[in-house]
Amino acid sequence: MHNSAMKKRIAKAKAVDSVMTKLFYLIGSFFLVFLLVLAGYIIVKGILGFYPELLTFSSKGIGNQFFNTIYLVFLSLVISVPLGVAAGIYMAEYSRDGKFLTFLRICIESLSSLPSIVVGLFGYLVFILLTGAKWNLMAGALAVSILSLPLITTTTEDAIRSLPKGFKEGSMALGATKWRTISKVLLPACLPRIATGVILAAGRGFGEAAALLYTAGQSTIINWSNWDVTSSTCPLNPFRPGETLSLHIWAMRTEGSLNPNAPAIANFSAAVLVIMVLAFSLLARITARRISKKSGGQI
């Protein structure tokens, strides 16, 4: 009697377990299919409208926008990664729990949910109007950094806090200073997770349009044989205007639609953008994994 009740209960638990397993597989595969279809659709559509001129670095192609996008993401990461990681370290290891930290958290959370057009207009006000500069890539990169800073800060803080207490204790018990413990043990141990934060932050840079509208601007006038960085037509000058791919897509879908090729340009730009984001994510992950594996952080 007792035995059969037990058997029944086990059978029921097993049934629930198998239903839940299937359910999660289903949800998982749904998202996978959804992503594949979406990315596939964008890429295929982009390729279908392809013509060689698109690849040129001229006003007819998207080469300049491609370069601007990479350069802007690079600039914004150069600003936001060190600052964000430093802020995350501060919040996890140096700040004391209390009112100030709570206040800081609220600030960071609010910052991360700011609409990007607001950040764009703020950037326009501060980096363009106040400085009296023209639209430029650096202003765009700063605006994007405002958006990505909270992401990097919180991922770094969470990553450090979630490490086992033993890493820190073990290092301190050997007479290491706090900074040494952080830089030699804690940070390398959470590198893969910080990489996720950087990927998300870069994603914002790749995809951002509203925040760049009035900061990085919508024009690109560069001369690929001019390598004098102080000149406003040098590709590497960060203080020149530079339209990114996502802004270009938006432009081609609105005012640029007088151009008969606009839909094809927009579609192809979208495909390139999707591939860029995927390639960047893969690269960042592989690099983080490789570093962590090489140092023995992973089995």
Partner: protein, 254 residues
């Protein structure tokens, strides 16, 4: 007590509070050089807390207040010494093995690198020597550059001991180092401790009465934050002077 031995630690009227809770109550005793001192007592009586005061690991915890004095070689560790310097001399092996997420080699080389040793040949030598001392060299010599996280629990614990030895401290604090280990690894670590006391002073927390009586020279019995009895291990286990000690070591409570 024995006066031929040098005093390593001299603890006087030590009181420790976590917030309002008093975890150590007026502890006074001496730990001798080149001896193994065992700390025993029921769970929650303050053994780990006491051990941590010896190398100021309790500095890492918020809300800890400490009164009284702890002297290492006649120097007050809280007043006259820097915590970083202290921990190089008095190092700790934890209850849970906690290797760093680095290679076996880098784990052991961590301490020497802190001390400024950079030369590869010298590091290689220290790493091998420490791993041999900790009786784990044969098991890891072919995987020195693989992650330490892939080792078994017992191997990890011995690696952590090697990591401490590489630093060449004067005192090694061990908090239940064998509680997660099988009898063979336990025996290896006990043998190691007995071997090490020639050159080091060892303080070991243990829940295992046999272990305390097998390896230690002196034993301290803690109860609810008090040091109830402290004597040579032989005396404490054969003729305890306190009723509570007797009850505890014979397993009648705790």
């Amino acid at each position: 007590m024995d006066t031929t031995k040098n005093i390593k630690f001299n603890v006087q009227s030590l009181n420790l509070f976590y917030g309002d809770f008093q975890a150590l109550k007026d502890i006074s005793f001496t730990i001798y050089e080149n001896e193994i001192t065992a700390l025993i007592g029921p769970s929650g009586c303050g053994k780990s807390t006491f051990l941590k005061t010896l190398n100021r690991m309790n500095d890492l915890e918020p809300n800890v207040t400490l009164h009284g004095s702890i002297q290492l070689d006649s120097q007050d560790i809280n007043k006259d010494m820097d915590a970083i310097e202290l921990r190089k001399r008095v190092s700790m092996v934890f209850q849970q093995p906690n290797p760093f997420p680095k290679s076996v080699y880098e784990n052991v080389a961590y301490g020497p690198r802190i001390n400024g040793i950079r030369k590869k040949a010298q590091l290689d030598e220290i790493v091998e020597h420490s791993l041999r001392q900790a009786a784990i060299w044969e098991e890891v010599k072919d995987r020195l550059h693989k992650s330490a996280l892939g080792l078994s629990g017992g191997q990890q614990q011995r690696l952590c001991i090697a990591r401490t030895l590489a630093l060449e401290p004067e005192v090694i604090l061990m908090d239940e180092p064998t509680s997660a280990l099988d009898p063979i690894s336990t025996m290896k670590i006990e043998d190691l401790a007995s071997e090490l006391k020639k050159n080091y002073t060892i303080v070991i927390v243990t829940h295992n009465m046999q272990q305390a009586s097998r390896i230690s020279d002196r034993t301290a019995f803690f109860l609810l934050g008090n040091l109830v009895e402290y004597d040579t291990t032989i005396k404490l286990f054969s003729q305890p002077s306190d009723k509570k000690t007797e009850e505890y070591i014979t397993g009648r409570f705790g």
